[in-house]
Symmetry: C2
Subunit: 598 residues, 2 copies
């Protein structure tokens, strides 16, 4: 066909010789960007995130209030070690290799229950990434209960077979682990860079603290600085229940497969046992509609029977899926979290800054002492002890926490659960407005799914879309059409679901389902209306203040001028001024929203 030199012409036989199985670990090592390891700084964040997600899930399943320590150390210019230690229930020694060094292995994939992890890939992918980039095995320590030993394993993945390799296996005997009741620690050495900013580890933990106000996070950064995120809610969140799939969500092929796999069950019992919202009565109805015998063997049903059952299910009215499989953060926890991060923590930072400044000043001019920072706390309602913060916050009846004086406002709305494509989900939105944030910047949107902060692909996410498509001008904030509103505002959005519809495997954005967008809109609008009231009051107060100062400023000179012109006595003058004030106040009283001044 052409004159140039050709490579060997292939045929079916030569091509067959090259066909090979691809281990899932090979696949993801070559496609590692799909899992969030596409650049050095993201690799570090992803590693922390996967380990923290697992730690939080494990603590909650064991009903333990989580305390998580994250340590990032710089070993060389682009080489770091990352250690995540939890106080969870620990992991049996026999399970450690597979959990940390085998992709697609886990306990969360085969069930319908809200959790952070789902796929059984994340942490093993981090181990694999570390191994590929530095050749170092992961080091895992775990202890399952007081009195039992803590095991320390060094683990690698055989990427060509997706199997774990145990390099080293010892028992740890030191004070820390001997005293610790239970828990797991993992250390991964990896090629990475450490970045601050909104995609950094500190920002991720800052946001995690917001969505997990029942957890303590302690982060030691590469410079040895300790960032402390205390616990502000001393109770575990409502535990989501595991549910069975809803029959309206099943597909024909899947139904056939389930029937085939149901050993020894009748069709009726199969329907009742396999699905939620199917009682014995409903099962009988379905069989009747399908003209399939309820007492027949389920595993012997052929394609015909399956198709008839499938159609009957579609035509049977059923209760909507149960929604107790989702667990929201809750309005109070959201408000406390936002209050803590943007009022208290801000204040602490302010104090820290002041203290640093003071030290610096002392250093620079030892005799100049009046600049020293003021350490007095002004809000006695907050006590910090250990990692726990005791907060007694009095919310207004409309579910807001605001201080006109200090100029902040917090509110949150948790919607009732709803369903998209058969999957229960629940949406909640919190808003913080106020001091410490720049007033002429765009609002910041913190996105969360099953309590995990999402830090990439904001523009592709339904949560961002729901914020930018809201008309914030109605609620008193500036906004260019289709953009984020302008103001000292943080908007926190959370979706909880037994099956979060991520747009990609690296779990960075939520797909645009109409049902989800609608719930988001309703929650945002409610928060917006509350914010609007606060802003209106704030504006009115500012106006009042201006008028008050105006009246006070000019009333007396006016009085004196009148006295001079008209020859009033002092009492006449006072009387006139008083009437004048009254008239002015009256006039203002008729202005919309006017309030009299005492």
């Amino acid at each position: 066909l052409a004159t140039r030199k050709k490579q060997k012409k292939e045929d079916a036989t030569s091509m067959a010789a090259r066909q090979r199985e691809i281990a899932v670990s090979e696949f993801f090592s070559k496609n590692r960007h799909l899992l969030g390891f596409d650049n050095l700084s993201k690799a570090l964040l992803t590693t922390v995130r996967e380990a923290v997600d697992n730690a939080l899930d494990a603590c909650e399943e064991a009903h333990i209030l989580p305390e998580i320590h994250v340590t990032v150390k710089e070993l060389a210019e682009t080489r770091f070690s990352v250690t995540i230690e939890d106080n969870g229930p620990g992991i049996l020694k026999s399970q450690l290799p597979k959990i940390f060094a085998k992709l697609l292995y886990g306990s969360k994939f085969h069930r319908l229950k809200q959790s952070r992890g789902q796929q059984g890939i994340g942490i093993s992918a981090a181990v694999m990434y570390g191994q590929m980039t530095t050749g170092q095995p992961a080091v895992v320590i775990s202890k399952t209960s007081q009195g039992k030993p803590a095991h320390k394993l060094k683990l690698q993945i055989d990427t060509q077979r997706n199997q774990p390799k145990v390099i080293d296996d010892v028992i740890i005997d030191n004070k820390h682990w001997n005293e610790k009741e239970s828990g797991t620690a993992i250390t991964i050495t990896l090629e990475a860079t450490y970045k601050g900013g909104k995609h950094g580890v500190a920002s991720y933990l800052h946001q995690s603290a917001l969505s997990n106000s029942h957890a303590i996070f302690v982060f030691t950064d590469p410079k040895g600085k300790v960032h402390d995120y205390p616990r502000v809610v001393n109770e575990l969140p409502k535990e989501p229940k595991e549910i069975k799939p809803h029959p309206h969500g099943v597909e024909l092929g899947t139904l056939m497969h389930l029937l085939e796999a149901s050993r020894g069950k009748t069709v009726s019992k199969f329907l009742k046992d396999t699905f939620s919202r199917v009682s014995a009565k409903t099962a009988a109805d379905i069989c009747k509609t399908a003209k399939v015998k309820g007492g027949a063997s389920a595993s012997k049903a052929g394609r015909n029977e399956a198709e008839k059952l499938y159609n009957a299910i579609q035509n049977t009215k059923l209760l909507a899926p149960s929604t107790d499989c989702v667990s929201p953060i809750g309005e109070e926890a959201l408000i406390k979290g936002l209050y803590w991060l943007f009022v208290e923590a801000q204040k602490h930072q302010e104090e820290e800054r002041k203290a640093q400044k003071a030290q610096q000043d002392l250093f620079e001019a030892a005799n100049d002492k009046e600049k020293e920072g003021d350490d007095a706390q002004e809000e006695p309602v907050v006590e910090k002890e250990g990692g726990n913060v005791q907060m007694e916050l009095a919310l207004a009846p409309d579910g807001t926490l605001a201080s006109d004086e200090k100029g902040y406002f917090v509110t949150a709305v948790t919607r009732s659960p709803n369903v998209y494509r058969g999957n229960p989900f629940q949406v909640e939105v919190g808003i913080f407005y106020g001091k410490g944030l720049a007033g002429d910047d765009q609002a910041r949107v913190f996105r969360f799914a099953n309590r995990v902060p999402l830090q990439y692909q904001a523009s592709a996410c339904a949560m961002t879309k729901s914020v930018t498509s809201t008309r914030w001008k109605t609620y008193g904030l500036n906004q260019s059409r289709g953009s984020l509103p302008i103001g000292p505002v943080v908007i926190m959005v959370h979706i909880a679901s037994a099956w979060v519809p991520y747009t990609s495997e690296s779990k960075e954005a939520i797909a645009n389902y109409d049902e989800i967008l609608k719930e988001l809109r309703l929650a945002i609008n409610e928060c917006g209306r509350r914010l609007q009231k606060f802003l209106r009051r704030k504006r009115k107060e500012a106006d009042e203040e201006k008028k008050r100062s105006y009246i006070i400023k000019y009333m007396n000179p006016i009085g004196e001028a009148l006295q001079e012109i008209l020859g009033f006595s002092d009492s006449q003058k006072d009387e006139t001024i008083s009437s004048l004030k009254e008239i002015l106040e009256d006039a203002r009283g008729h202005m919309p929203g006017g309030r009299s001044i005492k």
Copy 2:
């Protein structure tokens, strides 16, 4: 911790009992949107695309000019069957089950060579999707050479184990397959919807024809209408070579693994055999720099030696990766393809429309015959025979094909190969301007990677970004800043690479690598400059024409007026007018670009 009823509190033992392996097929069936099966219309397109990609790859590897038949039939409201048949080399019967019904199996993953498929997932994912949504097995027919039988297998996937199941296995004996030399056909029944528009199958094949001008596509749509995309280049594209990885792209962990797996080789030989651009001399240099003995056993090298070798490799100057592993479409094929689609095919459609219109007119008013369409072809350079189109196109020296008279312009630029992160790639851009396209719409951008049209996630793609960031006003097109240009324009962009950096598994957009963006920009600018010349000429001619008609129109009345006012004789009048014309022409001659009129 709380008063409400709890689910069972988990511990390490109860959690271990729930840990399970997840088959990759289970993973992707639950995450099928990652592979392009997220909605009914996309599922149809993805199925066609995966099968066509494989067919084209197979034909090219066997040096066969591809002829591909796609048939989509509507079986019920949301149930379709899709059949793709090729004239490729066929597949050995023993390989059929794994190739079509096992995820992560294939011949393309473990090599560095440009091809459409890479991952060994696509077609099996389509089979799995069909099976899950309709319960129907896939039907595969394949024949490897004249004289051998055509085998027909019905295949399913055991999704829980990722293993193929053969439901039926027969030999086909019919005229079609007996006469056919070799080839493969696959039929998948699936839940889907059929959509027109830019995300539809017809649009996909339209674009595939553009990037595969050496292939014939015949598409029978659900209404039985046959869409014909003929072959316009009678030669296979340059076959890309398989290359070895470049040492600068290897990571430490991977190097350790490769060393360990290199049985019986010395370090020197290992380096030379494993990587491209490493001669015996270079290998010796690397060993010297690393202070590792070249004659030592490679598989016995420990972490220390590996790290020394790794550092030595980074510090050794090497030739850039070889670029013969990429194969562009080529400027001529791009121009022919664009010309065919937007001039010839347009004309055919026009004729078809005219013929339909004529029939309609005949039907509506049997006596009104003068409206009948004109069937005469105006361009004798194009002959169509079978599925091949013979085109003799004379390109201008600047690589453009244009007709001022007919108002079209085509050009294309194929850049030299370049390298991003160690991966060779090559970029090319084609532009069509002209009739048949709406002049006040935004330009359409056709994106391709390894000849495969990309139809989703345009806004996330480096190719789109490179078009919108070009300043098209310079080249004579209107444009709002950061948007696509306005005009009757199609811009075709192609990237060829042994490793295309897709932003997601479903292969829909290209990541923003600086090196890639730069090459794209250079190619677009060159096309833009050529377009600019054409548009300038076109505009000038329009101006000339206007002036010519102006002079002709007004000269005579002016002469007559002068005659009347000044009492000129006819000859005086003619003389005056002639001088007047001359002066005007002269004046225009001095205007930039003015041309005299004869």
